[in-house]
């Protein structure tokens, strides 16, 4: 892949480098110092551990699903168990991994450092949000352990509120509680970005990662209350037979879907926007040039967040909604594709005349562009009224949203983890192993989910524990891919853990990159900076930053790689 005669292009660890004497990891010791910490970086680590736990819970469910679907008859588990597996897979992954993953781990760690602050605006509330997450998670795990959950992660009524015999009540209480964790995190981010930027850090000098989280936070605080109250209503109907959604009590089952998707469609953007923010940091760093169309990428994040709120009923084209309403929601859904496309075009254009390296984060970044493009384009098929009738509730939908959420959000998350790992731990991971893992993930992912597009067009409905035999070939391909994918997830777990102790010391800025977070120690001090930083450079500017040491650290004016040809 890369040429072997060249000296290592990057990163460039200095052999004798030492970790800084003092940093947030060794500032204090003991379990209390972690559980009662208000340091946003330590809270990020707490989140990292908890979301990783839920990722593995969800991942085990996913593996069992794929093994079960190897044969049309499905002999591994009973129908009840299968239904619980896909429901618990969805609930664990969406509410307890995907939604908090990038914001609560990377956002928590990085946003204060990126804006040049000592901490988030409300450090104690930040810790509180982690505890709320744990309490919500405990309720959900209790539901999983005492009867499981078989409603589908969408909790459609009246199945969830009346007919299901599984432990729905603790699950909806858990998700209700967990919602407050998101709301508090969003609030903290918005206020931090508004009030705690360092001198010189103007709005248009903010890293795009911060813009993406700002947009995400808007959705957190506007959307989350709706899902919380909706699930509470479903819970009340279940516990006290209040007639909100069940027609037998005078309720309307479609009302639930409106309320549910009013949050849960924007929630898709909660998952993907932060990943877009990560990619917007990775690509300029490893192309060593300013991002193409900063304003457009920043504005498109806000555009996606705003338009994302008025497309929810595209999940409901087949419920019997009026034709006019279907037309309006289809139109708006096509509209939200425009800002998404703008981002993809701008990232691609950023590569033009860059100085591109193959480092692991960049592999994730480029993988993200490809997978998000496929995920986004297949979304158009579902937005299209004439096609959605055939594709709705088939494996096409399953493939589409896994391309967005796994291909997009998780690739972005892993890319970000690799990119900022040296900052978080002060150490580098084994680069070649990491590249192999990234490529394994990319191959395994496509083999798992691409066949599902075809399955869906052939008409295989989702959430089926057995299926007609003509669908078997594609299902076997998908399961084969999933086993490769699983390996791709295990590898980083192993070498990242290993690197925390044995990895090479990274130094302040191993890539190098231009953000404020790379001007401080790795790992940073508890206060992030020794003195308040002053920002006098534009974002992603490599040309006027001699301290990055590019093209001769002494040279005041680095020379562009390709001239103006």
């Amino acid at each position: 892949m890369s040429s072997t005669q060249q000296p290592p292009l990057s990163p460039q660890p200095v052999a004798e480098q030492q970790l800084p004497k003092e940093h947030y990891l060794n500032a204090t010791y003991g379990i209390r110092s972690w559980l009662l910490t208000t340091d946003h970086k330590r809270i990020a680590i707490l989140y990292l551990i908890s979301v990783t736990f839920f990722f593995f819970v969800g991942g085990i469910f996913a593996s069992l699903i794929r093994i079960h679907l190897l044969t049309p008859g499905g002999y591994l588990v009973t129908p009840e168990t299968y239904n619980k597996l896909f429901t618990m897979h969805g609930v664990a992954m969406i509410f307890f991994f995907l939604i908090p993953s990038i914001p609560a781990v990377l956002g928590n760690f990085l946003i204060p450092i990126m804006v040049g602050a000592k901490d988030l605006a409300f450090p104690k509330i930040n810790l509180l949000s982690w505890y709320i997450y744990l309490v919500g998670g405990a309720f959900v795990l209790y539901s999983f352990a005492t009867g499981g959950l078989d409603t589908g992660w969408t909790f459609y009524t009246p199945l969830s509120s009346i007919y299901s015999n599984s432990a729905v009540t603790p699950a909806v209480i858990g998700i209700f509680i967990n919602g407050f964790s998101s709301i508090l995190t969003g609030l903290n981010f918005i206020i931090t970005v508004h009030t705690m930027r360092a001198p010189g850090m103007t709005w248009f000098r903010l890293p795009l990662f911060v813009w993406a989280h700002y947009a995400t936070s808007i959705i957190f605080i506007l959307g989350t209350p709706v899902i919380a109250i909706t699930l509470l209503l479903a819970g009340l109907e279940r516990m006290f037979h209040m007639g909100f959604f069940n027609p037998a009590y005078g309720g309307d089952p479609i009302l639930f879907q409106h309320l549910f998707w009013f949050y849960s469609h924007p929630a898709v953007y909660i998952m993907i926007l932060p990943a877009m923010g990560v990619i917007s940091e990775i690509i300029p760093t490893f192309a060593r040039k300013p991002i193409f169309g900063y304003d457009f990428i920043a504005a498109s994040s806000i555009g996606i967040a705003v338009i994302g709120f008025i497309v929810w009923a595209h999940h409901m084209f087949l419920t019997g909604q009026s034709t006019y309403s279907a037309l309006a929601f289809s139109f708006l859904t096509f509209l939200v594709a425009v800002p998404s496309a703008v981002k993809v075009f701008n990232w691609t254009a950023t590569l033009y005349k860059g100085s591109i390296s193959f480092d692991t984060p960049m592999l994730y970044g480029l993988g993200f562009i490809g997978l998000f493009t496929i995920g986004g384009l297949t979304g158009l098929f579902l937005a299209c009224l004439g096609l959605d009738i055939h594709l709705h509730d088939t494996y096409f939908v399953v493939a589409h949203f896994h391309y967005i959420m796994v291909g997009g959000a998780i690739m972005g998350y892993l890319g970000g983890i690799h990119f900022w790992w040296p900052k978080i731990t002060g150490r580098l991971y084994p680069e070649y192993l990491a590249r192999i893992a990234a490529i394994t993930l990319f191959v395994g992912f496509n083999l798992t989910f691409f066949p599902q597009f075809i399955l869906g067009y052939l008409g295989m409905p989702r959430r089926y524990h057995n299926y007609p035999p003509e669908y078997q070939v594609l299902n076997v391909m998908s399961t084969a891919g999933a086993s490769i994918l699983a390996l791709g997830y295990l590898l980083p777990m192993i070498y990242l853990t290993w690197s925390m102790r044995y990895g090479k010391v990274a130094g302040k800025n191993p890539w190098p990159s231009t953000g404020l977070e790379w001007t401080t120690d790795s790992p940073p001090l508890t206060e992030n900076f020794r003195e308040t930083p002053v920002v006098d450079w534009e974002p992603y500017d490599f040309m006027h930053r001699p301290e990055l040491g590019l093209l001769g650290a002494t040279s005041k004016k680095p020379v562009p790689a390709h001239g103006d040809d």
Binding site: L351, S357, I389, D393
Partner: protein, 326 residues
Amino acid sequence: MQSELPLYPEQASNFAPQVDGLVLFMIAVCAFFAVVICAAVIYFFFKYQRKHADEVGVPIHGDMRLEIAWIVLPFFLLMAMFGWGAVIYVDYRHTPNDTLDITVIGKQWMWKLQQPDGRREINELHVPVNRNVRLIMASEDVIHDFSVPAFRVKMDVVPGHYNTMWFRPTKPGKYHFFCSQYCGTNHAVMGGWVTVMEQDDYAKWLSGTTGSEDPIAVGQRLYNDLACATCHQPDGKGRGPSYNGVYGSHVKLADGSTVLMDDNYIRESILQPNAKIVAGYQPVMPSFQGQVTEDQIAALTAYIKSLKDQAPPGKPGAAESATGKK
């Protein structure tokens, strides 16, 4: 049957070629963009690979013309997709007048289907080829969804109201139908076969049956058993309006608005009589929620529909004109 690895389902209805045509267009446009993006990424990747460890890229910050181009051009393509999809969708939703109406009732976890002459089937549907068929669908419990991939049709079956969908089978054969909306434990086995028959075969199939009771007759008997007739007298002089000659017309309501007298209005009026009161009548009817099954509502509806050919009650006047029921 098809090959081991088919790429699209059989085309067996009027909608199938339309949907497949649109999907080919979408694939072409999307594949074009996906290929352009991927080719650009790969090309740049190799062309602008870093040659020296300390080299930087050319500082290009953006280009307004390009930005406008890649906002406007995709916008028009998206609108083309939207428009084409909308045209097909309107066709899906616009039921022709001459349909063969089949009642479909979903319950955990089976489908009950009934032909217009009353013949019942479980998880099987027989329809004649080249005839417009309408499914009138209700659910006894949770939300289900009736889906026939070979016809490219699908519709949610929602408790509490009727959804309908129509199609015209174009090719005799046997095709899967599925429940597509997750509905609990045995969701995956809540399906069956649609058999499309030549029209003659269909007629023979129908006549060869021992004939279940005509739904209109069942409805009439229920109508008397439930004492509907006490108030809803044919001359409109009871406490409720007459049904004669009303089905399919617009009915004036007490609040001044009008409502189309259709299957959904009949079912709503049986279950929630006070929701829409016909002008000139009092909200005195009790609810039959929980007292009638979906089958019985369908039979009552069939009977009330059959009265549309009766002469409406004579004298003109708001209260007694040819208005609804209750």
